[in-house]
Amino acid sequence: MTASIAHEVNQPLGAVVNNASACLRWLAGQAPNLDEARKSARLIITDGHRASEIIGRIRAFVKKAPPRKDHLDINETILEVIALARSEAQQSRVSLQTQLSKEVPLVLGDRIQLQQVILNLIINAIEAMSGVGDGPRELQVGSAKDDSQGVLVAVRDSGPGLDPESLDQLFTAFYTTKPQGMGMGLAISRSIIEAHGGRLWANANQHRGATFQFTLPADAERVP
């Protein structure tokens, strides 16, 4: 997703640079071509508007408010995402396992937003493992009841793991370790989880790989 957003923003910016360069060339020389120069300036305006529209769309996506509040079974929510991610995992020769607890309470939240978060974590994990030559490519998605009777969702991979020094930066917007990445995925994910009253964080695993996990409070009306 982030690569395509970056591509979308880059297109009009590239067009601005091209049209501005052309504009200068039309104005240069003994007999400047004012018509063409004017046309170039108009194209720059169009490109500028297009760039700001794209940024507006990203902003609307990030601050999609107000989120819907559905009573959700987090396990169902996870399984729907897994169905989407399964072929991606197979293509990257990643074995995808689930360990879902039946004890988890319902949560109150926006199903689509939470699925975006889970999908983002899964795709990140698959991409991280695609970078490693040999070694197992194992991805485990689990759910559990957390200490405060809420829900804990963990996505654990066997990729190259995390640099302890970069742990804090991971969730900063525009921080990325991927050549094609824009550094929005985890920043958006954290803002979604926090808007749901939960927390999202990352740890390096003891042996190999990384674990990303988030908590969500239990749906207060439905606590048994």
Binding site: Q11, A15, N19, A22
Partner: protein, 65 residues
Amino acid sequence: MTEAQAVVFVVDDDEGMRQSLKNLIGSVGLRVEAFASAHEFMRSKLMDVPGCLVLDVRLPGLKRA
């Protein structure tokens, strides 16, 4: 000399990018033919003149054979 007839072909699915490349290349006095897709480019009758191709690397449609 054939230089005056030389054509630069541009293939890009993004309209703004296509138009701006056409504008930029045109501003240095070269002839430009722009296409929105590889299909459109392949279907066009290419003139038998010296030319070069500026191709977007992320085009939808036609895959490499």
